[in-house]
């Protein structure tokens, strides 16, 4: 009789990888190398098999305890009074969003490749696309990207392909991380990313922008509200670019589109950015959600997937993937992008969030954000030692200049369980002692006043 122990013993001896030494030898011979090490020649020796300083193996019980202890060191936005923004925002998320998202029909389904698969997933994607399209004011939206930065970089790729040109202009008031991803995308390629500056008032420098438009300009990237929270005046920008045969690429907080001018209304050809504010919780760097909308003329250039609604042979409503001739799984070398996956679950969250709030709800929450930030800015303006520009239109964050170094303010306020904002000098060395403060609808009047009181003690 076989005992449990025998079984365990047997499975231990069983190899899951069906590779014998002979198999390996044949494969290496086939590709013309003598050992596996030869394949790794391109990787510097110092980077191979680095020593991992993770200590000895632990029992499951000990591991659980260790993880719990480590986990308790984390503080979520719910544990502190956070004024952090800069691309990731704390918002109220109705409980139903998480409940629906965690239904296992959605939770376990991988993004569908075949038109007939998973009608429910396809319907969600279709509805997500329709809602984002409405917000951005453009014509077509894809099923989503990893996050705002990759989405924006894909927009740049689209512009380069569409115009057959080589240069992308980008405002320095665009999120620094997005600009880094952009540069990474085009590193060691014939394409150039050229930045134009911003002025004293933290809005883009129009003269600098216009002086950099040239025959090789494929498109220009702007952000509004920009990284400093200021709404850009983009009047005339799309005309300027279009006259030159270039495209206008806009990235914007989608929540702001609930009440502010949409990318479509600014004449943008592509709107691409971070969808996290729409019902996706704060979670380090992700999983977040990249939205991507284009004008009809660029429909064929969309990277990633697109769900459409149609009818089956019996006239019933049916959803299918469409316009996917350039998807990686169909034609890799002709694919519009090598990123094939979309953030289906986060897109579902956004879809449910937008549906629950409705058109008026989105507008209302956008206005609440503007009110809270504007109120906080007024309060900060009266604190000695701190400076803000009161004359600028903002959405939900703004720049504060202080007499004392930001590090000191941060240290003091963290003791009070307050995260005061983001140090801007880490991204812009010229902006000494300036920091970005964000106030969304989650902050009460008392919390804002309490924050300002503590700020005054710094």
């Amino acid at each position: 009789m076989e005992t449990t122990l025998d079984k365990a013993q047997r499975s231990e001896n069983m190899h899951y990888l069906p590779l014998t030494e002979e198999d390996k030898r044949k494969m290496l011979e086939e590709i013309g190398v003598s050992s596996f090490e030869d394949l790794l020649k391109g990787i510097p020796a110092a980077l191979r098999d680095p020593e991992l300083r993770i200590g000895e193996a632990l029992s499951e019980f000990d591991i659980q305890n260790l993880m719990k202890t480590l986990g308790k060191k984390n503080k979520s936005a719910a544990d502190v009074l956070s004024f952090l923004g800069g691309g990731s925002y704390e918002h109220f998320i109705p409980t139903a969003v998480g409940e629906i998202m965690r239904r296992n029909e959605f939770y376990t389904a991988y993004t569908p490749y075949q038109p007939e698969a998973a009608q429910g997933s396809l319907q969600v994607i279709f509805e997500y696309q329709s809602l984002i399209t409405e917000l951005t004011g453009l014509d077509v939206t894809n099923a989503s990207h990893y996050d705002g930065s990759t989405s924006l970089a894909e927009a740049a790729v689209l512009a380069l392909r569409q115009t057959d040109r080589t240069k992308i202009l980008v405002s320095r008031a665009v999120h620094p991380h997005y600009r880094q991803v952009l540069k990474t995308y085009f590193h060691e390629t014939p394409y150039k990313v050229v930045e134009f500056g911003f002025g004293e008032d933290k809005t883009f420098d129009r003269a600098d922008f216009e002086s950099k438009i040239a025959d090789d300009t494929a498109g220009a990237i702007f952000q509004t509200p920009n990284f400093f929270g200021v709404l850009e005046d983009l009047e005339g920008v799309s005309d300027k670019l279009h006259t030159n045969g270039s495209l206008l690429l806009l990235t914007a907080n989608p929540m702001s589109m609930g009440s502010l001018r949409s990318p479509g209304e600014w004449g943008a050809d592509v709107a691409a950015g971070e969808g996290q504010p729409l019902g996706v919780p704060l979670q380090y760097g992700g999983p977040y959600l990249g939205y991507f909308s284009v004008s009809r003329a660029l429909m064929r250039r969309i990277p990633g997937r697109l769900a459409g609604m149609t009818q089956d042979s019996q006239g019933r409503r049916a959803y299918c993937l469409t316009l996917q001739a350039r998807e990686q799984h169909i034609r890799r070398e002709r694919a519009a992008s090598n990123i094939c996956t979309n953030q289906a679950l986060c897109a579902l969250a956004a879809c449910v969030y937008m549906t629950l709030l409705g058109k008026e709800g989105i507008q209302e929450v956008a206005e609440l954000n503007m009110d809270r930030a504007a109120y906080l800015r007024r309060l900060v303006a009266d604190v000695p030692g701190f400076e803000v520009r009161k004359d600028q239109p903002i959405f939900n964050e703004f720049v504060v200049k202080s007499k004392v170094p930001f590090k000191m303010i941060e240290e003091k306020l963290i003791e009070k369980n307050i995260l005061p904002g983001i140090d801007l000098s880490q991204f812009y060395p010229e902006l000494k002692n300036e920091f970005l403060v964000c106030a969304t609808e989650t902050k009460t009047r008392e919390q804002l006043e309490n924050f300002v009181k503590e700020l005054g003690k710094c």
Binding site: D164, R300, A325, R326, I330, R331, R334
Partner: protein, 128 residues
């Protein structure tokens, strides 16, 4: 399937019609049937230098995208902009209204290397 006598063909299923030193190029009846419903054609820009046997345009059907190869080397003199609004012309009239672009023939010997109707039909049958 219809393969007009006066045209020359490529293994990759393009056809070419010669008028002086200018060739008009499209895809064959066989190709349009294989690709099925054409939904988009990405044409080269006028003036683009094409190289014989190298991709110069892309045709998309409902399901996939296919490269179109230049049958000869030379610069593109004209493109069929009607395809932008009505890519279905490729299926309806592949040798007429569904043409893709015209290209200036630089080296006449390249024309001679293209397949005749008989060669093309034979290659379709044998797959060589």
């Amino acid at each position: 399937m219809n393969f007009p006598n006066e045209l020359r063909y490529t293994k990759t299923h393009e056809w070419a019609r010669r008028d002086g030193n200018v060739l008009t190029v499209g895809i064959t009846d066989y190709a349009q049937k294989e690709i099925s419903d054409v939904v988009f054609v990405e044409l080269p820009k006028s003036g683009k230098e094409g190289q014989a046997g190298k991709p110069i345009a892309v045709v998309e059907s409902v399901k996939a995208a296919f490269d179109i190869y230049a049958p000869v080397s030379g610069s593109v003199t004209q493109v069929n902009s009607a395809l932008e609004g009505d890519p279905g012309l490729v299926n309806q009239d592949c040798y007429g209204k569904g043409w893709f672009f015209s290209i200036a023939l630089k080296d006449a010997s390249e024309w001679d290397k293209l397949m005749t109707k008989e060669d093309y039909e034979k290659s379709l049958k044998t797959g060589v």
